[in-house]
Symmetry: C2
């Protein structure tokens, strides 16, 4: 997730994430469940009365048990319902398993999850109930590697690539660069789709403008979409859908049953941008 500078006050009964220098979200900590520095980042999990278990990486909220479905459903389903025949999938990042969980709801052949930090996988297996069953699924292929190096080396193509990166500073920095999106194209089938999280439409609108310009040099279809994510800065989050052939509003199949957020109407709606963002993304 793309975030502004974060400063955490060392109060054990409370965690806070700054969204700007002067505003942010706070959580009362019911139980601090885990706190360790991996070679890549600071990993923390705590329990909050309302949101359940919350995962922080370098002090930024990544996911919570209560509201994970907003982000994970909306990162996965838009491409899965618009690709003509999605069989081979790649997830870069996403060690908490929320994106993986949503992809496995389709009749796919294989999903390769490339996570740089094995500690995120281990911690998430313990504290987020959906991850372990997903890792046991025969279609799941787990690779511990730097996503950028992985796509530079492999000689494989995917139907859908989902970028569930963290901040553009820290271990995910290279996943936000134009060169990375250029390399991704080599790993994408003809009808392929890339979806990536981009940032807050309110706080990162300048970044969205820059990304829009550079991605349009690489992909014929560059469509931004926005959905609510209660625990992310500003309560909304922006994603980008990239393809040369698939169109985000050309729907090929129904979504799976039992989703909490996603349906065909919210899918179409998410691509309707407010005026202030339209100007930035055109």
């Amino acid at each position: 997730m793309t975030r502004n500078k974060s400063i955490r006050k060392e109060d054990l009964s409370e965690k806070r994430e700054y969204h700007t220098q002067s505003t942010g979200i706070f959580f009362k900590v019911k139980n601090l469940l885990y706190k360790q520095n991996s070679p890549y980042q600071k990993i923390e999990v705590f329990e909050n009365e309302y949101f359940g278990n919350v995962l922080l990486l370098d002090d930024l909220v990544q996911t919570t048990e209560r509201d994970e479905f907003f982000y994970h459903e909306m990162l996965v389903h838009p491409s899965l319902i618009t690709h003509p025949d999605p069989l081979d999938l790649l997830i870069i990042g996403g060690g908490d398993g929320g994106v993986l969980k949503e992809t496995l709801k389709y009749h796919i052949k294989n999903v390769c999850l490339v996570e740089i930090d094995p500690h995120v996988i281990e911690v998430s297996k313990k504290y987020f109930p959906w991850l372990s069953p997903c890792l046991k699924d025969q279609r799941t292929e787990l690779v511990i590697a730097d996503g950028k190096k992985f796509i530079e080396k492999i000689d494989r193509k995917f139907d859908i690539i989902l970028i569930d990166s963290s901040d553009p500073v820290g271990p995910s920095a290279s996943l936000h660069q134009k060169r990375f999106y250029e390399k991704l194209k080599n790993c994408l089938n003809n009808e392929g789709i890339v979806v990536a999280q981009v940032g807050s439409p309110l706080y990162n609108s300048e970044l969205i403008r820059e990304k829009s310009a550079s991605l349009k040099e690489l992909y014929k279809i560059v469509s931004f979409y926005v959905i609510p994510v209660p625990t992310y800065p500003g309560g909304s989050w922006c994603f980008v859908y990239l393809s040369d052939n698939a169109h985000p509003l050309s729907i090929k199949r129904d979504p799976p049953l039992g989703l909490n957020y996603f349906n065909l109407e919210t899918h179409r709606s998410a691509f309707s941008l407010p005026n202030f963002l339209k100007e930035k993304s055109e």
Copy 2:
């Protein structure tokens, strides 16, 4: 605005609003501009580096200079573009003037603003730049009165009634009851539309379910819609559009130019509800 219990920590350098018992938003206070108890409520205005001037009533964020347009545009424009000929308008609450400002962008004849607390008007005139010009507009009729008593007494009908109430506890409590919505119908022209703010789709979903059931006994068309409001609990807010004749997706005119959020696409999209809310509002 409908909110859960709010507890404010008395730290002069910071204001916080609890959204649940264990989570919420915090703002660094650059300048505390106003703090007084009126006969109705505690009124505070402070300056925040990012959001500019912020109005709190009984510790709950009502509006900020930076993000006011999300809420005010989306409370006003959906009815104004779908009514066949909106001439006479009524706003109940809304003493900060944000809703009034948006209504005056149309060729209306008269807009009557009924605010219970004259102190909110006085404070907002000083700290929110849009209010004073709106009050000077010849079409504006300002009434200081209890909205509930006002609609019980008057013998007038309106084309559009906009309910910009605060919490269901405190001075706005009666504006959330079924009896109030029943009385409103007597003040509504045949083609009339009522729009009211309802609450957070995440935190108040049970309230939305109850409201949906009771409003359907009164109005033929009961359509909920959701939009982002960065400084409100959960970052999204729910509204309800009520009418016996006008339909929210039957658009009669273009919105005014120069809006920051609203356009015909975001209008239609707002009525597409996520699965978890659809179940509550059906």
